[in-house]
């Protein structure tokens, strides 16, 4: 067994193991966008392969992501591409693949390694904490979304009666949601303007700085370069990004898209309104409504979003979302977190409730 960083010429083999084990059809361009052509741009790429007889049988990677808190901008690593061929399970390969990555994180002064995984059990053997889990906010436009979500949860094995009940229940919750959406004011408050961004706004980084000043804690540093890569040049599916402006000053944005499953996804939402005459709740509600109507017009069966922790902005989003017809479901994946030595200097990493993270494309793709 040979474990080490990605070597030249191994990209195709890494893609193939992903497509084989995940039964996916990811393209090489998509793979490269995620791991090679991201905003980090430093060599070597933090992508580890486990090889047996020259054949790749496991992968584990980092996507370096900048975060920001009141102290400034810092690098973190998001754990991705956790794959081990079934035949090699139980051989502690994940632990062995993480070893060079932990070294890498230390060398590069990464503050924290984080991620979301359905395979939390595998991480119990590693020095990771499990500070929370993702939960869902969703708003169905039709019963098809509920049917789709239930089918995902049950693997599609529903009896006729159960399917009929799900459909009837789905219709009812969709009708209730659409009533609440319809009753929400569509009028844009005076002095505000909503624009669809055709490319990332240069003011994005400054919004993030104001965001952590206003709300505290830490969040992903979405400067225009990051947004351009993650949202506007995403080779899976891009986002519609709507910015809210007051006298040409960007106060925040909402990004939404449609997944391959036909469900709309709230990809990102951020508001920093310390200098605005409007409350954050008003702006968040308005942006949520834009996402809901936008996803509905794109033919989505509903829209869903994450609810991750008790960050004050996260709580505000959840509260505004409920007003326009979202429901909250406590189902999701555990968060895994590892504090690196460099992270000890940062107060924002003490509690996970200090984090504000959105879906912002979990693995690049959505569904």
């Amino acid at each position: 067994m040979d474990i080490g960083l990605l070597r030249p010429g191994e990209e195709q083999a890494c893609l193939e193991i992903h497509n084989r084990l995940r039964r996916d059809r990811r393209s090489l361009a998509q793979w490269r966008w995620e791991f090679i052509e991201n905003t980090y741009g430093k060599a070597p790429t933090p992508f580890v392969c486990a090889r047996d007889g020259g054949r790749i049988i496991g992968t584990q990677a980092f996507i370096p992501i900048q975060m920001i808190d009141k102290v400034g901008v810092y690098w973190t690593a998001k754990s991705e591409a956790t794959l081990i061929d079934f035949k090699y399970w139980g051989q502690h390969i994940l632990e062995k693949m993480y070893e060079p990555l932990f070294h890498y994180a230390e060398e590069q002064d990464f503050t924290v390694i984080w991620g979301f995984t359905p395979a939390a059990k595998a991480y119990t053997q590693l020095p990771f904490e499990f500070p929370g889990k993702t939960e869902q906010l969703f708003l169905p436009f039709s019963s098809r979304m509920i049917t789709s979500l239930v089918n995902k949860a049950t693997g599609g094995s529903n009896s006729f009666l159960r399917a009929a009940a799900v459909r009837a229940g789905g219709s009812l919750v969709a009708a209730l949601s659409s009533t609440r959406t319809a009753l929400s004011s569509k009028k844009l408050p005076e002095g505000l303007e909503i624009r669809t961004m055709e490319s990332a706004d240069e003011q994005a980084g400054s919004v993030c700085e104001r965001f952590v000043d206003q709300w505290g804690g830490a969040t992903i540093y979405r400067d225009s370069r990051y947004l351009q890569w993650r949202l506007f040049e995403n080779p899976y599916v891009r986002s519609v990004v709507k910015g809210i402006y007051e006298e040409d000053k960007l106060l925040g944005w909402v990004a939404f898209t449609i997944g391959d499953d036909g469900i709309g996804y709230l990809v990102d939402l951020l508001v920093a309104c310390d200098t605005s005459r409007y409350t954050a709740g008003k702006l968040v509600g308005r942006l949520l409504l834009e996402a809901v109507l936008g996803a509905r017009n794109m033919g989505a069966t509903g829209i869903r979003s994450w609810r991750v922790n008790q960050h004050p902005f996260e709580r505000l989003v959840a509260s505004e979302a409920k007003k326009i017809g979202f429901y909250h479901v406590k189902r999701g994946y555990p968060v895994v977190l590892h504090n690196c030595p460099a992270g000890e200097k940062r107060p924002s990493t003490v509690s996970f409730d200090n984090w504000y993270v959105t879906r912002i494309y979990t693995e690049g793709a959505l569904s």
Binding site: R25, S27, A29, T196, E198, V237, R238, S239, V240, T257, I258, D260, G262, L293, G294, R296, N297, M298, G299
Partner: protein, 471 residues
């Protein structure tokens, strides 16, 4: 007798096509001296390493029995066979029974089918010229095409011919026999050209509501239950006129953004009624204001403007006053289009991109081409400065023909174009995109975009495609 102008026309269409869908070396090869357009007698007597294309073989009314050959991971379909020359030294490649090329020992390569005649005939609407059959709207029906009964309407024969030529020229440039495979980095990804005819941007117009009311009552006259769901659509669009129409159009813009696509919105204005515009010009203006600069806005020529200068000028004038985008492209409402008079007519009004050549109820290549071509005036024997981007797929036609297999059909075409190069043109109406009143087409557009992504297709508008080839 084929004129030199006609030969030059076919040659330049092939060169333009190759420039669009193949990388640079291929475009240079097709323009070079290695292809010669000659009479049949001169062609078979040539004894040099080059491709000789006979230009004087007539086209029969019915396509001569077609055959297929494997090529670059797909199958190409040829018809109107050129028999193997009688002289010694000619052999069929890849096989005598189903040849693509007749190759002489000296290196001369002769197509085994009437490459020149087929292309010229299809690009100059030869089928329409030979048939007087037209439907109630004055259109040439696909059922009247002689290609129909041989299953040739779904064959992009111009694309296949161009790809075969490029493959042969590439291998011949290395002093090898004509290959039936395109090497790496020769072919560009397939292109998807999207467009939307905005017949109606509000669902509450008198005609639409009356039609819904008729649909409620009509079954009763035949002793069936009334279709009460139409009452719901009446009420819904009475209270929310833009829902599923204007909102569909903005949804189309957004979903295209998500897939990195752009498209053209053809706006219908002018006179109203069942065959005319269903929403006021103010709605067209309101929507055009929302269309970003990477998308195109064009004119959906109203039904009554067909070859009528005054009415066409009035519609165009009204549209130009309402919107800021320049109007240089268009498509005829009901695809009402005369291939012999409409091109020069449209050019008079500054239109240089047209997307009217296609069928609403059949997924097909009306001109045997997935791409674009320059219109040709057979009267004066000169090409016109107006380009046709033939329509291959229309929403209702797609689901009408293929039903649940619609996406499989789309994917089959895209996969084929991935192997031979070309642009696949798709029309989707706002109102059919996410409208529960038309459930058959719900979700289809999203699936088309996903299928396009799977084949790694590029997207462009008809105008940007034409602008590239006009350069």
């Amino acid at each position: 007798m084929i004129s030199r102008a006609a030969v030059g026309y076919v040659r330049s269409q092939l060169a333009g096509h190759v420039r669009l869908f193949f990388h640079e070396p291929a475009a240079d090869l097709i323009k070079g001296e290695s292809i010669r357009f000659l009479s049949y007698v001169d062609a078979v007597s040539t004894k040099e390493r080059c491709i000789v294309i006979p230009t004087d073989i007539p086209i029969p009314f019915e396509p001569d029995l077609p055959w297929t050959s494997e090529f670059n991971g797909t199958s190409v379909t040829l018809w109107n066979r050129i028999r193997k020359p009688d002289a010694e030294g000619w052999r069929g490649v890849p096989a005598e029974a189903s040849p693509v090329w007749w190759v002489h020992d000296s290196g001369t390569v002769l197509p085994s089918w009437n490459l020149f005649g087929n292309i010229l005939d299809l690009l100059t609407f030869g089928e329409e010229k030979r048939s007087s059959e037209r439907d109630q709207h004055g259109r040439f029906d696909w059922k009247s095409s002689p290609r129909t009964k041989h299953g040739l309407l779904e064959v992009p024969t111009v694309n296949e011919a161009a790809a075969l030529l490029v493959a042969a020229l590439t291998s011949m440039s290395r002093s090898e026999p004509p290959a039936l495979v395109l090497g790496d980095n020769i072919l560009k990804p397939p292109v998807v050209v999207l467009s939307h005819d905005c017949d109606s941007l509000k669902g509450n117009d008198f005609t639409s509501q009356l039609i819904r009311l008729y649909r409620v009552i009509q079954p009763v006259t035949k002793g069936r239950w009334p279709k009460l769901s139409n009452l719901w659509w009446i009420a819904r669009n009475a209270t929310s006129p833009r829902r599923y129409y204007f909102d569909d159009a903005t949804g189309l813009l957004d979903i295209e953004r998500c897939f990195g696509a752009t498209s053209t919105f053809y706006l219908l204005n002018g006179s109203g009624g069942r065959l005319g515009a269903r929403s006021p010009i103010a709605e067209a203006r309101r929507f055009a204001d929302r269309v970003p600069s990477s998308w195109e806005v064009g004119m959906h020529y109203n039904y009554d403007t067909y070859l009528d200068r005054d009415k066409f000028a009035a519609q165009l004038g009204q549209l130009k006053q309402a919107i800021v985008q320049p109007i240089v492209s268009g498509r005829a409402h009901y695809l009402r289009f005369d291939p012999f008079r409409s091109f020069s007519f449209l050019r008079e009004f500054g239109i240089y991109v047209d997307e009217s050549s296609g069928w609403s109820d059949k997924v097909a290549y009306r001109n045997g081409l997935a791409g674009c071509f320059q219109a040709y005036d057979p009267e004066s024997d000169v090409p016109l400065d107006i380009w046709e981007v033939p329509l291959a797929v229309m929403d209702d036609g797609l689901v009408g023909e293929f039903g649940a297999d619609s996406i499989t059909a789309i994917e089959r075409h895209l996969q084929h174009l991935k192997c031979v190069g070309g642009a696949f043109t798709i029309l989707f109406h706002p109102g059919n995109f996410a409208n529960p009143e038309h459930p058959r087409t719900i979700g289809i557009y999203h699936e088309i975009l996903k299928a396009s992504r799977r084949v790694e297709a590029d997207f462009c508008t008809a105008r940007s495609l034409v602008d590239l080839v006009r350069k």
